[in-house]
Symmetry: C2
Subunit: 429 residues, 2 copies
Amino acid sequence: MYIGPASGFRLERESEYGSREQNEAAAEIVGAVRREGDEALLRYTELHDRVKLTPDRLRVTEAEISAAYEKVEPAFLDALRQAAANITAFHEKQKRSSWMDLQPDGTMLGVVMRPLKRVGLYVPGGKAAYPSSVLMNVLPAKVAGVPEIALVTPPATGGREGIDPYILVAAAEAGVTEMYRIGGAQAVAALAYGTASIPAVDKICGPGNIYVALAKRAVFGAVDIDSIAGPSEIVVLADDSADPRYVAADMLSQAEHDEMASAVLVTTSERLAQAVAAELDRQVATLPRREIAERSLEQYGAILTVGSLAEGVEVINKLAPEHLEVITEDPMAVLGTIENAGAIFLGPYSSEPVGDYFAGPNHILPTNGTARFSSPLNVDDFVKKSSLIRYSREALLRDAAGIATLARHEGLEAHARAVEIRLEGGESQ
Amino acid sequence: MYIGPASGFRLERESEYGSREQNEAAAEIVGAVRREGDEALLRYTELHDRVKLTPDRLRVTEAEISAAYEKVEPAFLDALRQAAANITAFHEKQKRSSWMDLQPDGTMLGVVMRPLKRVGLYVPGGKAAYPSSVLMNVLPAKVAGVPEIALVTPPATGGREGIDPYILVAAAEAGVTEMYRIGGAQAVAALAYGTASIPAVDKICGPGNIYVALAKRAVFGAVDIDSIAGPSEIVVLADDSADPRYVAADMLSQAEHDEMASAVLVTTSERLAQAVAAELDRQVATLPRREIAERSLEQYGAILTVGSLAEGVEVINKLAPEHLEVITEDPMAVLGTIENAGAIFLGPYSSEPVGDYFAGPNHILPTNGTARFSSPLNVDDFVKKSSLIRYSREALLRDAAGIATLARHEGLEAHARAVEIRLEGGESQ
């Protein structure tokens, strides 16, 4: 871990784009499913997941979902439902109405907002299957009004057939309308192009392994995809008022995710820097995911000292972290200068896990410095807009010369004539 | 051109992804500019544009911009300024404020909206350099509040050194802050990674040739890019009340763009279908871009008859056209059923060129069926959001058990502890 002045630190991690072989493997699967539909889908499922299915067994049944509810603890279900209610309430505030602007001459301009019709969600198998991520992906689409949400997830986990009951329950609670036991690049291709058993979607969301990511990239254009998540990070901006135990605990909650994760403290306090370093050592020692957290801290962790909070904010705007905590005497005083961060947590009680699970804002955030230009997953990601233009004859008369001038300058004579033909003779019948 | 029942028609055009050689050429240029900066930028400019530049001559000077104003006609400038005022006014209505939700226990949740800091716009050379597209790309960024907008465009057009004065004037009017005489994949790479002469941007917009498109795709992730435009289309939905001269003129205004463009009439009126076919023949004969328009109509044009307007809307929702005109007795009656269209033009006087140049909505629209999931270029495309979370101790006490339950279920012990450590003992000092 780097400990020292901010000027000596640079965070650089490569995103995963896959080898040529991996790209070719993903492309081959996508092409086969596009051409052959269910047949290829079942073939690759048998090959990669070692589960032999028939088309009528692709879809998870109501009975299986009911059985899943029997398996989850009441405390889990209660927490999940409260989280879902909070996430829904927050995203409801992002909804926008279609609008129009009416002018006295009869002109009407506007924007129509409509939900996407059908969205697909990829949920990875095994340990990376997070019920919280199911809520975070599905609920913004639900709030947007998307009527059909299809979930896909591998049919087996670690050799054992069957889908995690917690995932099934989270999906049912969130309002997923269909679930299919398919995974990998073949599942992405089925969602993108449709098969006899699985209708095509308009957008595919959700994380997956490298083949899933490459397949998503390959089908982009035929459907929309969400951004492909890179390694994630937390930066804590703190002054001497911060409690080192809290700071260290929050850094570890990022570091335990994976070895590529990055946890960085930026502080004006030499005392805090030392105390957090000691706390990290102390707290990491008893973590179940100790090895992962230690490797993350070692490679991508840092404690950076700065001369002022303003200098600290400069460092942060360059890092553009996924998560930013501001634990200073007056967090609102620096908020106005923070330009780049996916989610901003203010004050000593706003620990990152509050946002990961519960408060309501989305935990799917721009990673690896992309907060410079991207945003948390939100309702807009499931809405498409159409512009609306109604011109009156009066308005067209007023603007015709200007339109024709610009069109002719660009060499587009038919554009000019399309306007002028409407002004020949009288009104349209 | 296909003329007949809608059930017999399918529109399929491949988007351009480039050959392996083209991809490799673009990747090589991007890599060289990333590594070597200005040196590679100038080398490729000499190689591909046959113009030898020095770093101090990359930027277009104030004197050149003033000289450009001397060359454009007053009628052009007037029309351009009116168009810019209309586009600005329409996009102003898309702006959104940051918002917050305050709860009695001291919790604050919200979203901060901030403009991107620096945007690059690619403007192709030659005949594809459209002043109207400069306005349509720059003004939404300007309205969003982007402080730095850098334009790049090739230094020579058809062998002649110099940038089109109409482009320079449109850029100056729109509020571009810097202009550089560079083009091709090397210009995209310079914008993405920065050089000694050209600071890196956060997002790259604008159309270009295949090498520009491939370079944009290659730098995506380091910066954001706009969607890559595919072949474009118009669909006119009309009943017996429509004037066949208007319908044909609007179809031709799309067909003259390029041979891949598609113009389709969907109508309930056999009489209109016949009359439009005759009008197309009559009107195309005198167009300067007759050959392009004829090839477009021949390959991708169609006149489709349907049994009802409802059936017509079904056809439209499948095509998801870039432009849709509704020329029926009561256009508002069908508007509620139209799901997929980039821009919708209502009534006999709302000719597509009104939207291309003047009314205010953006003319950069989702093409090739992507209106199913994408939107016209708009102010949101130049805004990034940050979630805001401030929890109080009271709120954390209330939610801690739920957060810890979900975190432990997902195997993330450090997440649970980060919350619980804050509830040990008393309040934070």
